[in-house]
Each structure stands twice: as C-alpha cells, then as structure tokens.
C-alpha cells in the first residue's frame, strides 16, 4: 500500500493550504496472557478467529470483572474493546448456564451490530448460548421465550426503562441470575439523558437486590476527560478504570486544511464540501479506503453524489461509494457495514452515525468535512482511520463558520487540550422524582430504604400526599391506575420519525427522518437526497408524518432556513439587582422554517428561493433569563450585541459544570432588545420538553455562574475572543470580549 500522506503532500495546492501537519507516533502492542481461570473453551474458540493472546487492557478488564469489580474501559476506536466484556460474560455462561447478562447499547443499530459479533464468537464455541435482542422490533410471539430463556439479553436503556423493569416478574430468571451488566458507549450517557439512565440503573439495582443478585458492571467509553467520574455518577459506585490501551497503533498523519480564499474583499473561502470531495477523491485514487464525515445529512448526500459520479461502479456491480446516515433502513445499513468491512467499498460518506462503535473495520483515511464540534468527536472520527500497524491519514477541512475558522487557525488549541468532560447529575430532582414513581410502581418502597444512596422519603411523602402512593405500615404502595414509565421519556428528541414514501412507481418506504429535521428536509418542493438519488417532495402529510416523494433529475439541491424565537409564558421567580433583573419561568421556544434556497450542484450558486408553509415546531420548556436594566460602562450600542452574545457564550461554557449537564442540554439566546422584557436579555433554556430543572438551578446559582463566566473570560489567554470564552471573533465581533468584560464587571459587582 502506498504512503497516502506523501501522496497528499505531493500536491502543491494541498500543501499551500495546510495550517498544521502533525504526526502521531505509532505504538507497539502490549500483550498479556488469558486470565488463568478463564474457561479453556474461550481461548480455543478465539484461536480459530486468529486471536492467541490478549492486549493488556483486555486482560486487565477481564481479570477485574471476573473478580467482581465494576470496570470502565476507555481505549481508542478499534482496540478490541468488545472482548473486554464478551469474555467475562461468556466465561460466566460456560461455567454456569443459569447465568444471565444484560447488554445495554444507546441505539438499536449498535445492538444489532454487537449481536452479529457476539454470534461469531459463540459459533466458534459450538455451545448453545442463547443470545437475543429485546427491543421495540422484537416480535410479541418471541418475547415470552426470550424472557425465560435468553442467557444474554441485548437491549437499550429505553427498553429497560419501559418494558423490562416494570414487568420484572416475567423476567424472574434474568433478575435472579444477573451476573454482568454491560454498558457500551458510556460517553453517550451525558447530561439529562445520562441523569435519566443513572436513575434507570438505580431501579435495576433495586430489583436485583430484591431477587438476590448483584451484577458486576462493565462499561466501555470513547475518549472523554473523566471516564471514571462519569461511570461513578452513572452507576453510583466506584469503578476500576482501564485506560492504557495495549492495542498497536500505526503512525497517524493529521492535517489541518483551510480552503483557499476565493474572494478577498468578502473573505469568502472555497466550500469545505468541494475541498473535501477533492481530497477524498485523491485519497481514493491513491488506493486508500476512505471515510468522509460530514455534519449534516444533506452534505452526506451531496458529497456521496459527487463521489459516486467520480467513481462509478463497474458494469453490473454495486456502488463503490456509499452514503451512510440515520434514516437509512436497517437492511441497507447492514449491507454498507459489511461491504466496508470486506473492502468492497472504496469510500463512505457519513454523519457522526458511524463515529459510534459500529464495526466497519478500520480504514486508511478519514476526511472530516467541517469541525465536528468537540475535541472528543474529532479524535473519534479521526480514529476511524488506522488499520493495524499501518499508517493512516486524517484531514480536517474547515468550513467558513467562525468556530471552524478558529480551530483551523489555532491548531495548538486543539492538539494541546484534553477532550471535553462528560457530566450528568443523578440527583436532578425532576428526574429523580419521575423515576421514583417508576421504582415505586415496580416494588413498594420500605420506609428508610435508600434509592442509590439517596434518601427518597421526602419525595415519597409528597407522592403519598398526592395519592399516587398509599402508605401502609412501613411501606409505600403504588395506588393509581397509571403506568409511570410510559410518561417518562429518557431522551429529549421524540422517536417519532417521518416516513419518506417514494411514489414514482409502486409506493414504497425509502427512509426515515427524525421529527426535528423533517421540516427542513421534507418541506414541499424540497429535493430529498437518498443514496445519491434525487427525489422531490410532492406532499408532506404533517399530521400523519409522511412525505411523498417522486424521483427527479435536477441540477440543484435545496437548503432550508430556520428562525428561532423564545417567548415567555410564565414567570416563576424573579429578583432585582442594581443593574439587572433575573428570572426563571416557562417559555415557548418556537422554530419555524421560513424559506428554502435552490443551490446548484458544483458551483453552489443560488438558483432561487421559495417559501415554506409549515406549522412551527414548538417546545414548551423552562428558561432562566437575565436582562440589563442599566447600560454597561464604555460599551457602544454597536458593541452591545457582541458583548451579550459573548456573555451568553461564556454562560453556555460554564453552566454545564455547575448544573451537571451536557452542553447539548442547554441553549443560550441573546437578544439586544427582547420583545418581552424590552431590555437587552440573555435566555438560557432547557432543551428537554417540559424542562428538567436546569433553569431553576441556574437562577439559584446565578452569582456563581456569573463569577465563573468572568473568571473564564479573564483566564483565557486569547486576544479578542475564542470558542472557549466569548466565541470566535469571526462570530461575535472583535469588540465582543471587551464588551462582555464590561457587562460582567457590572453584573458581578467589583471590576476585576
């Protein structure tokens, strides 16, 4: 195989536009023997798969788990982490067939993939180990057998929450004999979602205790700054951290590429999409199997269309370039994954859907079209390239967005910084209260019983007062007809998808689009791209959640614009200070697609626009907001906008640490003159419908938040703004940092 990085560097134009080129040194493998007490059938089966020894981290994880210690494994992509849990689990089943284990994956797609891999190992064992997926797609007729007989149950937290725990009596065998609980993709359980899952795990542990089992947890995570802390928050008990990977790694050549400026006056750069296409095409021509990551579904389709034209399949053969994103049908996705593993595909264009642990083997090169948004994701996407000991290439191509431009021009910011922290709050009162209801439904609470180390008596008394529970003797019994788990959704986004129906011939479903993207991708007259084929949306049946499309061939695609607004519904708390007022309360966040543009392929010129007539998406939630009642000193009216945006960005950066949530759980919304307060206002709102208590907490912790924001600003060494403090100057303006400083010194009191 050629040296792809040399090939790239051979191109003068590529070289000229690089802002950074780093080489990450290779690592030789660290081997270890199989744990001595491992069932001998396992090493024999693994030998048939070509595995004769374990990497050091695999051996360590197995050893600790088999000793009954909870483990969290953090190692890079493709370091063989699945063996870390498959070995202890299979060992336990082989030694005692009564043993049960539970696998939790954040999505259905991942569980399917894992099951395939596990089956591969079980086949070699030639032992009848019963492994089943139990999720929304499991046929009702198969469920009773799975509940009784499955030795390994593969599911997701949502299913555990709504289908397994409330029906635990039917899972008697599972709960009595539960030995291991595997939580893969631990880093996904951040923020509000993670807080929910932490409560689901407390419920699981409570039932295990009832049935007399105490499972060992084995967690796997992608690289985050604080895996140990996060696992402890999620599980509520200390864990053993395994983070020294013994897997070999080839040399990685990491390039930062900034597309050339095409219009110097307007500062317009060549599109990241077209540059990514060129770089990917060059890599494919050099023989590198390449993955291209793009942030939007639309760009996935556009890029894969371009690359398909460039690399047409041989006559009668399958495409060698494929797109991949959520919304493709499962069968289609399986086929792409298999073709990737088996090398039949030369290039795949994907959203971050493939950043997750889906097994596609490892490729030679990764092209990141746009900065993925976090340091952790960037490393994870770059980690998709790098097969065995061979060298690999990763290219980050910046878009013209301010954040991308900042990162690409400050490579040290990226390379020197550790990945983001992942946080969750297992004691968020809103979330805790809703799961206590579920727990009380599952098993009556004893007076004095703790819930994952917390005393729930206050909540239980409250529920009894509202006649949800009935206290009798020393217990609280469920006392309504309701089914509480059904009223609690673990995720903010609803699962309800829009279905895309192709009516060119016999109507058939070709894909799905989630509810929040649907107005942008499936409005009438939109060009919907699926696997590079163009379809025009003829009719969007909004209430029925169906879009009817017809195949077309046009030379453009469409891009829709979204307008967001926050409207105050009810003020639940307010407080006045000398120069500002703060509030928290209920708000309505409205998002409405306004118009769409027709954009010509390749040239990207605008061919015209059209209106979108769709109802706005509304979300009822809670917000904290702060409005300035006095003018900050030395801030011009013009600079105020940037200053507010800067303070909002600072708050967005510090709030997750204080509110113990994920940055994605919150949104900030600055307004120079809010229609509600008629003053310069910053809103901080909760992204879960109904709110999860973050706004109220922000209101309570306001001074701490403001002080932390001021510290962050002062402590940041940048000259005039960066994404870590007020935002990139390209986004908020060069005066923003100074203006934000003035605003904060007014809010915090003492000028620093």
């Amino acid at each position: 195989m050629g040296q792809f990085w040399e090939f790239l560097l051979g191109n003068e134009r590529f070289r000229r536009n690089l802002t950074a080129y780093r080489t990450i040194p290779p690592q030789t493998p660290h081997w270890a023997d199989f744990p001595a007490d491992l069932d001998p059938r396992l090493p024999r089966a693994l030998a048939e798969l070509g595995i004769r020894r374990l990497y050091s981290h695999q051996a360590e994880a197995c050893r600790e788990a088999m000793r009954g210690r909870d483990v969290v494994v953090v190692t890079p992509t493709a370091s063989g982490k699945t063996l870390c849990y498959n070995l202890p689990v299979l060992d336990a089943v082989l030694k005692n067939p009564q043993t049960r284990s539970l696998y939790l994956f954040p999505t259905k797609a991942l569980s399917q993939d894992q099951l395939d891999e596990l089956h591969g190992l079980i086949d070699r064992l030639r032992e009848p180990i019963r492994t089943f997926t139990y999720d929304g797609d499991t046929p009702a007729s198969a469920r009773p057998t799975i509940r009784k007989a499955a030795q390994i149950v593969v599911t997701n937290p949502d299913m555990l929450h709504v289908a397994i725990l409330p029906h635990h009596t039917k899972w008697l065998r599972l709960f009595q004999n539960l030995r291991y609980v595997v939580i893969d993709e631990l880093h996904q359980y951040r923020g509000v979602f993670g807080s929910h899952v932490a409560c689901v795990i407390r419920r699981l542990n409570r039932l295990c205790e009832f049935y007399g089992s105490r499972p060992t947890y084995i967690c796997c995570s992608a690289t985050i700054a604080n895996p140990e802390e996060m696992a402890q928050l999620l599980l509520g008990r200390p864990v053993h951290l395994v983070d020294r990977s013994g897997a070999p790694r080839g040399e990685k050549h990491f390039f930062f590429y900034n597309p050339p400026v095409v219009n110097r006056e307007l500062g317009i750069r060549r599109s990241a999409l077209l540059e990514s296409k060129e770089i990917a095409a060059r890599l494919v021509e050099a023989g590198a199997q390449t993955i291209v990551f793009s942030r939007s579904r639309l760009n996935v389709e556009v890029l894969s269309t371009y690359l398909k034209h460039r690399f047409p399949p041989g006559p009668g053969q399958r495409e060698v370039v494929r797109g991949y994103r959520g919304g493709y049908l499962p069968r289609e996705r399986r086929e792409i994954e298999r073709d990737l593993r088996e090398g039949r595909i030369k290039a795949v264009v994907s959203t971050n859907a493939l950043e997750l642990g889906i097994d596609i083997g490892t490729l030679n090169a990764a092209v990141l079209c746009g900065y993925p948004g976090t340091i952790a994701s960037t490393w994870q996407q770059a980690g998709r390239a790098g097969r065995g000991q061979g060298a690999s290439v990763a290219v980050l191509v910046a878009s013209s967005s301010p954040l991308d431009q900042f990162i690409i021009t400050h490579p040290d910011y990226f390379f020197a910084r550790s990945p983001e922290h992942a946080l969750l709050n297992p004691d968020n009162p809103y979330i805790l209260a809703s799961h206590l209801k579920c727990a009380a439904f599952e098993l009556p609470f004893r007076v004095g019983e703790s819930f994952g180390g917390r005393d729930p008596s206050e909540y239980l008394e409250e529920l009894a007062k509202h006649q949800v529970l009935h206290r009798s003797g020393d217990r609280y019994y469920w006392a309504t007809e309701g089914f509480p788990a059904e009223e609690v959704s673990l995720r903010s986004a609803t699962w309800e998808n829009f279905v895309v129906v192709d009516i060119s011939d016999q109507p058939r479903v070709i894909g799905e689009v989630d509810r929040f993207s649907a107005p942008l991708l499936l409005h009438e007259e939109a060009i919907y791209l699926h696997e590079g084929q163009q379809y025009q949306v003829e009719k969007l049946d909004y209430p029925e959640k169906k879009a009817y499309v017809r195949r077309v061939r046009v030379n453009y695609y469409t891009d829709a614009q979204l307008a967001v607004d926050v409207q105050v519904l009810d003020v639940l708390g307010d407080r006045a200070s000398q120069s500002y007022r703060s509030h928290w309360g209920e708000v309505l966040v409205r998002a409405r697609p306004t118009m769409f543009k027709k954009i010509k392929f390749y040239t990207h010129e605008n061919l015209g626009t059209g209106p979108i007539n769709l109802p706005e998406e509304q979300m009822h939630t809670t917000a904290y907001w702060l409005c300035l009642t006095a003018a900050p000193a030395r801030v011009s009216r013009e600079a105020l906008q940037g200053g507010l945006a800067g303070v909002a960005q600072l708050l967005a950066n510090v709030a997750p640490l204080y509110l113990m949530c994920d940055p994605g759980d919150l949104r900030v919304f600055p307004q120079v003159r809010s229609p509600f307060t008629e003053l310069p206002t910053i809103y901080l709102y909760d992204r879960y419908p109904g709110g999860t208590g973050l706004a109220e907490r922000a209101f309570e912790l306001e001074q701490q938040l403001l002080e932390a924001a001021a510290e962050l600003l002062e402590g940041c060494s940048c000259a005039s703004g960066c994404p870590s403090c007020v935002g990139a100057p390209q986004e908020v303006g060069v005066e923003a940092k100074e203006a934000a400083r003035a605003i904060l010194s007014m809010l915090v009191g003492e000028p620093r």
Partner: protein, 376 residues
C-alpha cells in the same frame, strides 16, 4: 374501621393465617343448567378431559390493566358449579400490605381445582396472579389441569355479531340482559383507591356485587355455549357458520356439514363466501366431492381471498375425483387468471404446478379421445 368491623358491614368473615387479615365472603349465586355431561361438548369447548368434580369459575378485580408489577389484584371471585348450583367465595384484600393473605387463601382454593373457567383469564387474570405471587415471594399454585378461557370461544362464535367481545357487551347482545345498574369496569379501580383512603365499606359493596355479577354472567355464558353446542339451534347464519367451523375442527364433520349448509343457504354477500369456504371444507373432509363443487364455484367467482384456492380445488376435484377433464381444464384456466392477484389469494398459486396440471389434463383428454375412437 378495623377488619372485623369491615367484615361485619360487608357480610363477610376475616381469614387470618399469620399473614394479615383477608376478607372472605361466601354465598349462593343461583341455579342454572350447564350441560357438561357428554363428551362431545367438552371436546367442542376445547377441553381434553371431562371436567372432573365440577368446574370452577374465576374472575379477578384489579387496580389497572396489564400485568406489570404495579397492578394489584384486590378481589378474586371464585364460583364452584356443582349439581346445578353455583356457590361463590370472594377474597378481598383490605390493604396492599396484606396481599400475601389473599394470595395464600386463594392458593388453598385453587389447589383443588381441576377445570378453571375464566373470561380472558389466559391473557390477563392468570399471568397477573403469577406476577403477584412472585412479588410476594410466594409459591404460586400452578395452573389447574384445564383452563377454559371463554373469550376465545366467544370470539369464534360472536365476533361478527357484537362490536366487541367484552363480557358486558355479550351479556347484552347474546344473553339479552343488559346490565344497567352495575358500575362500569373502569370505575372499579377508582372505587378501590377511594376505599384505601377512606376505609368506607360502602365503596366496596358495589365492587363486590360487580364481581359476583361477572361470575354469574360467566356461568350463564358457559350455559348458553353448551346449549348451542349441543342443539346447534341458532337463528343467526353468522353463529351457525361459527358453530360449523367449531364442529369441523373439534367435533363431528356430519354436524358441521348440516350447520354449514344452513348457513350457506341463509346468508348473502361476504358471509356467504365464508360459509361457502366452510361448507367446501366439510364436503372435502367427508369426501362428498360432487357436492363440494357448488360452494367452491361460488367461492371461485367471488372476490374473497380464497377465490384462487377454490379454483385450484375445483381443478383437482374435476381431475382426480370426478374425472371431468374439460371442466378441470376450465378451472386451470381460471386459476391462471387469478394468479398474482393478491386480494384473491393468487400469490400462493405456483405456475409450475398449473403448467404440469394442464399438461397432464391434456394428455388424459387425448388418451380418452383415443380410447373412445378405438372403442368405436
């Protein structure tokens, strides 16, 4: 109010075997005739053995739907049918804390049951009962030797005649006695929760009555069923058809044919095609090939999803049984026309089989012509 006072108010007694009190109310529900004497009837009901020692009917009142862990059974009515008389026992849980007491008493009652009769008990009452024993860490009594769930039979017989097969709907539509004074089903959990808060026995009185009423309706439904199964008397072609199919599956084809013929003559439209299908199956089973032709023709020319099947059957009968090859060829032709028409069941027809049949029929016809020629 303490358990003894509640018991007195509700005309019941307190059982307490160390697991807390449980109320039991016993009495006499009424007299009726349930014909379980002859073998044919219990076979038609789907029972494998004669109900030894009488039968027991059971109906549970619960705090919700489904069998998830937070749904309690707070009242179980059990009625024993012996010598034409129906005696009931109702076990009432006065507080969720005393659930084990109810379950223990019930286990004693169920231990001796040979044939249990319920309405939707297989999907609801029984699994929920099992869940409750698990939750109270008690050994559950194990399902009786036979469990007859009348919902399944009621669906077979009356699905086409009533909007939904709920016990109260059937009471009104089939037994002809609508329940007007009773509390509706969905009020039952609410009354119980209100009782838990207020300990007022008057709140339970109507629930106990409701439960007894359900037991009585269950018994009557069983009585009506056994009567229908024995006499076959019915004035509804829908019911006749359902009875015919029941006889065909579990009883005597001779009775089935009788009922199916009557249903076929009396019905029209969609029902007639279904009757034709049943009748054709009856004739086939009895080997009455000539007679099977008429219902099959009706079916083959209808827009029923069995049309394609009927055409193939006709081709087979004309070829192998009646040896009328030209007619057989005609039905091969018809079957070919129906092939691929999903709404008529044509996707199941194999074109290879059709081609082979046609070839064989043409050979047979040619041979017959040759034979006729040589005879002349």
């Amino acid at each position: 109010m303490n358990p003894d006072q509640l018991a007195a108010q509700l005309g019941s007694s307190v059982l307490d075997a160390g697991r807390g009190p449980c109320l039991v109310k016993r009495g006499w529900l009424g007299e009726l005739h349930i014909n379980l004497g002859c073998e044919q009837i219990w076979q038609l009901l789907g029972l494998r053995r004669p109900p030894a020692d009488g039968i027991v009917l059971m109906d549970a009142e619960t705090t919700g739907l489904g069998s998830a862990a937070g749904v309690f059974i707070f009242l179980v009515g059990v009625a024993r049918y012996q010598h034409g008389r129906l005696h009931y026992s109702q076990y009432l849980m006065l507080d969720p804390a005393w659930e084990p007491s109810l379950l223990a008493a019930l286990a004693g009652e169920l231990a001796t049951v040979h044939t249990l009769v319920t309405f939707n008990g297989k999907a609801f009452d029984w699994p929920l009962l099992e869940a409750r024993y698990v939750l109270c860490r008690m050994q559950h009594p194990g399902e009786p030797a036979q469990h007859l769930d009348l919902l399944h039979l009621a669906r077979r017989l009356w699905r086409d005649m009533v909007p939904r097969c709920a016990l109260t709907t059937l009471e009104a539509a089939v037994l002809g006695r609508p329940r007007s004074w009773d509390i509706p089903n969905h009020e039952v959990p609410k009354m119980y929760f209100a009782f838990l808060r207020r300990r007022d026995p008057h709140l339970l009185q109507p629930v106990l009555e409701h439960n007894r009423h359900d037991l009585w309706a269950l018994a009557q439904l069983l009585g009506l069923l056994t009567h229908r199964l024995q006499s076959g008397a019915s004035s509804h072609p829908e019911e006749m058809l359902a009875l015919a199919l029941l006889h065909l599956d579990r009883g005597s084809p001779a009775r089935a044919v009788e009922l199916a013929e009557r249903s076929f003559r009396l019905s029209a439209g969609w029902l007639r095609t279904r009757a034709a299908y049943a009748l054709a199956r009856c004739y086939k089973r009895l080997g009455r090939w000539q007679q099977a032709v008429e219902p099959l023709q009706v079916l083959a020319q209808s827009n029923s999803p069995r049309a394609a099947w009927a055409a193939v059957e006709l081709a087979k009968i004309f070829e192998h049984r009646l040896h009328r090859y030209r007619e057989a060829l005609h039905w091969v032709e018809q079957a070919r026309r129906l092939r691929g028409q999903t709404s008529l069941g044509g996707q199941a027809i194999s074109s290879t089989a059709l081609r082979q049949r046609e070839l064989r029929l043409r050979q047979k016809l040619a041979r017959r012509m040759a034979e006729a020629g040589s005879n002349n």
